[in-house]
């Protein structure tokens, strides 16, 4: 009998050990996922920037304050000196649908039992020659300098969006420094290249998805990719870049 009881106890301990092991395994897996793999960039997003893009436009994260009035004022976009031909594009279009976080101030309103009304300010189109109406939430205590600075800024209340825009801008700045389209190529030329970056930042497995039809144009784009220094956040990722004039 004692032997049988011992056996039961042993089996119970074994069972508990197995359960503990399995839960420990899944716990470690979750931690691995959270800290090393998941970076909040799942899915694709596309940014289209026109020729006159001013890459130094500030990207501001502003928390949505429902009590502040929405101010609409015309904004004249600046033209950069080096680019004599203005283009008519373009709007920022972001495919990814990420749930925007609930703003802090709205939590104050919930105590009054009112429904949370979220208004997301649309991103400002970059470097358009026409004057445009822009909706800005103007905090009450803004100085004159801050208002003029923020008039040309891209404002968003989604920190993931802002981070994505900043990263995209950083990569574009780096690319434009290294890439010079060859003289004589038509203005409508564009090519699409996909490549992966290894963990050391080196470009691997370049593939031309869509050729421009002009060999030297494709070559200049590939050369630019090899010569540029990839930012840290691109390491271990695959990118698709469209080069256009």
């Amino acid at each position: 009998m004692w032997l049988y009881q011992r056996k039961i106890a042993h089996n119970t301990i074994l069972l508990w050990a197995k359960l503990a092991g399995i839960s420990f395994f899944f716990h470690m897996l979750l931690l691995l996922l959270l800290f090393f793999i998941y970076s909040g960039n799942s899915g694709e997003y596309k940014i289209i920037v026109n020729k006159l893009a001013n890459y130094s436009i500030p990207i501001l994260l502003r928390q949505q304050n429902s009590s502040t009035p929405i101010v609409t004022q015309p904004v004249e976009q600046k033209m950069t000196q080096n680019n004599p031909k203005p283009t008519e594009k373009k709007q920022l279009s972001i495919k990814k649908q990420t749930p925007s976080p609930v703003s802090l101030n709205s939590s104050i309103n919930t105590s009054k039992k009112e429904p949370v009304q979220k208004t997301i300010t649309p991103p400002v189109p970059i470097a358009s020659k026409k004057t445009e109406q822009k909706t800005i939430t103007a905090p009450q205590s803004l100085t004159a300098k801050e208002t003029t600075k923020e008039q040309n800024a891209i404002v968003s209340d989604n920190y993931r969006k802002v981070e994505a825009l900043r990263r995209g801008n950083q990569l574009q700045k780096e690319l434009v420094q290294h890439w010079k389209p060859p003289i004589g190529t038509p203005a409508t030329c564009s090519c699409e290249i996909s490549f992966t970056i290894d963990t050391h930042g080196k470009v691997q497995t370049i593939k031309v998805i869509r050729s421009s039809g002009v060999t030297m144009y494709d070559i200049s784009a590939r050369q630019a990719l090899f010569s540029m220094h990839m930012p840290q956040w691109t390491h271990g990722k695959s990118l698709v870049i469209t080069f256009q004039q």
Partner: protein, 424 residues
């Protein structure tokens, strides 16, 4: 248990494969660096390499450096070039007497883009170089080359008695390697190339005591009178198939009309009391020409030969010397702007006019290269003195073609030849 682990791994793998898409626009264009390697160096290959370098640099789109190397060191040299920022390398080699082999490489990935064997045609070494440069150019830019073409023009000479004579010369597309084709004792004007690329023929007008007759000349300096009517016979143009010709003739009436020659029959196309000159074929049924009959001042018109319908291209001002470019489907002509003749461009598709040249000095007799990217014209730099200049439509750079003190005019650009023509 194993299935759970496999499922977890699958989920992880999917989250790892992330794609980021970006579109980048570049603002500043630059010349493309290209390294030209000569394998198994010889004097002939070196000459060919230098000619290719000169040709590609003429276009202002490439900056070419020549290197001598061997097959063993080619890889090492290309890696060095990649590090220096030269993305393109072209190798030329001539293993046999009849063939020149060229290969184009991308230095970043050490891959061959294209390679061809050019079978030598003719005996002119620079002709082979022009042909190889044409092939390289077409591979890199997707455009038709123009290096295997020639230009012709009139140059003024003074005799001992200070009589002014004009002689006809031919030269390479950049004005180099000038050769005298027609050396007569009379005034010779308006040379025009025939469109036949296998048999180079040059037509010109020669002043005689009785008339201005139309003469054809081969590269062997064999002349034949082709139109000897009374009055003026000049400025022939040929249809794309070469079987129809149109030229201006006055037949002693005092008014230049256009005559079409096809199947050994001569047909009068215009009948007015004006001057109709500078006819060019747009296609088999359409021609563009200059006439002062309808408005009193010279304008550019398009005539449909089958229906005799006249469409004005220009409606006002003083517009002359149209020339049609098939590659770009456009007409280049001259217009008086602020008392100076300038070169203008008319796009046949969009019907838009653009002024191409500015500045002082009248521009005359513009003609276009076979690829449509270069314009050759006579630019007056002093009273009754002009020189040949080339306008690169891609970079808008004007380059002098003729030498400094020469008085040259009436330029015309030939088509590209398979066998490079020279005077024999």
């Amino acid at each position: 248990m194993k299935k759970i682990i496999l499922l977890c791994l699958l989920i992880i793998a999917q989250t790892v494969a992330q794609k980021i898409e970006l579109t980048v626009t570049g603002s500043q264009q630059a010349k493309m660096p290209l390294a030209l390697f000569v394998l198994n160096e010889s004097e002939q290959l070196s000459d060919i390499a230098r000619t290719i370098q000169k040709n590609l640099e003429f276009t202002d789109q490439f900056s070419v450096t020549i290197h001598n190397t061997s097959i063993k060191e080619l890889l090492k040299d290309m890696k060095l070039l990649c590090a220096q920022g030269t993305p393109l390398a072209a190798c030329i080699n001539s293993n046999s007497e009849k063939i020149i082999e060229w290969r184009l490489y991308e230095t970043a990935q050490m891959t061959m883009i294209e390679g061809k064997k050019y079978k030598k045609k003719g005996t002119v070494v620079r002709g082979w170089a022009h042909a190889v440069a044409d092939e390289l150019w077409t591979t890199l830019t997707g455009q038709k080359g123009f290096f295997s073409s020639r230009i012709t023009y009139c140059k003024e000479h003074h005799t001992k008695k200070n009589v002014s004579l004009k002689k006809i010369y031919i030269a390479d597309f950049d004005g180099s390697n000038e050769e005298l084709l027609v050396d007569g004792n009379s005034i010779i004007v308006t040379p025009r190339w025939h469109v036949d690329t296998t048999n180079p023929l040059l037509f010109f007008s020669e002043y005689t005591k009785k008339n201005v007759r139309l003469v054809a000349s081969t590269m062997k300096k064999q002349y034949k009178i082709t139109s000897n009517f009374d009055g003026i016979n000049m400025m022939p143009a040929f249809s794309p198939d070469g079987k129809t010709a149109i030229y201006s003739a006055s037949h002693g009436s005092g008014h230049c009309q256009l005559y079409l020659y096809h199947n050994e029959t001569l047909k009068q196309c215009t009948n007015n009391k004006g001057t109709n000159v500078s006819a060019n074929f747009i296609d088999e049924d359409h021609i563009c020409f200059c006439s002062d009959a309808p408005t009193g001042s010279p304008q550019v018109y398009i005539l449909e030969l089958s229906t005799n319908t006249l469409t004005p291209v220009t409606k006002s001002g003083y517009c002359t010397s149209p020339t049609y470019c098939k590659t770009t489907n456009s007409i280049f002509y001259h217009r008086m702007i602020n008392h100076v003749m300038q070169i203008c461009h008319y796009d046949c598709m969009t019907k838009r006019h653009t002024q191409l040249t500015k500045g002082g000095g009248n521009k005359h007799e513009v003609c276009c290269s076979p690829c449509g990217t270069q314009l050759l014209f006579a630019h007056e730099y002093a009273s009754k003195k002009s020189r040949l200049e080339n306008l690169n439509l891609i970079t808008n750079r004007i380059m002098r073609i003729s030498t400094h003190n020469d008085h040259c005019g009436y330029p015309h650009w030939s088509p590209c030849y398979a066998i490079f023509p020279t005077i024999t």
